[in-house]
Symmetry: C2
Subunit: 314 residues, 2 copies
């Protein structure tokens, strides 16, 4: 499907349920809410759903949002690479009846009736931005805030390798539309609760290195999360910590699962190595510089096996 065809599909939508992935991040939330607000602005009926609700930090995007009442005709997923990522209960309810998938993950499982997947796009929000441009939309400030959020999130505020000239130009246009970039950046990248700052120090103290110093690993246990009362949504940013150490090329973050303490969610970030290939060894996937998987076992076992696999990949 070309971008123009995607724009045509979107302009024909009505009575649509938009699904974001579970534990929504800025890109899936911004894509879902931005698309929903756009559709509503042109008189269509649209809702956004996900399994976990939107975190409080996204209130600038969700403020004033209320579900509309209509009979669902079409289901669209945004930034969802795999129906598993819909989480419970939406995975069960929707996995076999997604009409249109809009995504930017190379690893997309092609689960929908029709899909537009651009693995070269920095963010799903950037795809939505380009579609709205084709459709001649005049996004209001809230839509601009949503789309900026996803582009900023998935480029690490324009810091990551994949940040394209197109992403910068979209940010320029969204700023001209009145998006509140600086406060959004502050919420997404800067502000930390006092609890989080203390938890970070504790997590940094768990950092382990391979002998070469090229692989670093931190471990976030349920004990740390509980002790410092930090919100699980604040934990995503921890995955960037290991790569901040001089000489580290693969940064690994283990996060103990609340519902299954014998299992760790593993985030892999890399400087110049294929992160998705490392994650794939454990049944996971993602992008070339940021990927993830889940590994069962105690923290030491998981740390050793993932660090060894990462060291071999170098």
């Amino acid at each position: 499907m070309t971008l123009e065809e995607l724009a045509a599909r979107i302009s024909a939508l009505d009575c649509v349920t938009i699904l974001t992935h579970g534990h929504p991040d800025g890109d899936t939330a911004g894509s879902g809410l931005g698309l929903c607000y756009y559709l509503r602005s042109v008189g269509k009926r649209a809702n956004v759903k996900n399994s976990d609700g939107f975190p409080a930090m996204f209130s600038y995007m969700t403020e004033g949002y209320e579900d509309m009442d209509f009979e669902e005709k079409t289901v669209v997923s945004v930034d969802v690479a795999d129906t598993k990522l819909l989480g419970s209960p939406l995975e069960e309810e929707y996995k076999d009846r997604i009409d249109l998938c809009i995504d930017h993950h190379f690893s997309n499982r092609n689960f929908a009736k029709e899909s537009y997947v651009d693995g070269d796009s920095c963010a799903t929000c950037l795809i939505i931005f380009k579609v709205l441009k084709i459709l001649g939309a005049k996004p209001d400030k809230r839509i601009a805030d949503c789309l900026y959020t996803g582009i900023a999130t998935d480029t690490g505020c324009f810091m990551f390798e994949g940040t394209s000239p197109e992403a910068h130009r979209a940010a320029a246009e969204l700023k001209e539309m009145g998006c509140h970039a600086a406060p959004i950046n502050r919420i997404m990248f800067q502000i930390k609760s006092r609890g989080r700052i203390l938890a970070e120090q504790k997590v940094i103290s768990t950092m382990r290195f391979t002998d070469s110093g090229e692989v670093a690993l931190i471990t976030i246990t349920n004990d740390i999360i509980d002790h410092y009362s930090i919100d699980r949504s604040e934990l995503d940013a921890f995955a960037g910590i290991p790569l901040t150490v001089e000489g580290v090329r693969v940064g690994i973050t283990l996060k103990q699962q609340a519902e299954d303490p014998g299992s760790y969610k593993v985030s892999i970030r890399t400087v110049d190595t294929d992160a998705a290939a490392i994650a794939a060894k454990f049944g996971g996937g993602g992008h070339i510089r940021a990927a993830g998987c889940t590994v069962k076992g105690d923290a030491d076992y998981v740390a050793n096996v993932v660090m060894q696999t990462a060291a071999e990949a170098l």
Copy 2:
């Protein structure tokens, strides 16, 4: 002077010494080296000087740079708001004979024979970028790296409030010219030595708040710098720490002076308050969201007087 007039002045330059401010940051270094490399690329003789040398982290900009031998005809300063900032020994040598000043600080002291000061520009590098565009230059990758460095540095990697659409578009063009944005971002914003990570934890433990929690202050003593063997050039980034705490509107960083331990360099960062106005109460200056001054006294005295002034400004 208009930008076109500045471009005409620059195109007429030859045998020029370009001065950056002392303890050079990314913007003054990128402006000075970028302008120098451009002038050399069109057959002019040009050198870059500063009082302290360029830090090792800027080696991607300075690699291959060697002073040329010529009789100096013109002196240009870049990103220098006040001749005091030239530091020793260049202040003494040049303060009264700067021909052309190119700067983006509102507080510029107008010390040069001719000045182009655009306080609305995110970075002096952005001014140089626009000048080169007017001159029809085709910057090579090294020049693009220099100019990107300054724009990224002074916008906090596009995070700060003043980041303009123009800054994003310049970044897009510089990426298309082949600048190495991601490795530069990693050097400028991400990588920390293990010593710095430990020093940061120590400095965070010195954090004090006003009762309202809206003013936070950290103190970097010579003891901390010596104990963790961190380079003073790494300390600039510490000034961002206090503002990362939820609820903080004014973040203050005290840095004990190596050569004068009874004196503290004060960095003031703000969310929505005039930082330059607070700094001005102590004879300093800067930008609306980032400013600085030097205050004599012991750490407790300086902390109390600056925090009180900041609290009154809120």
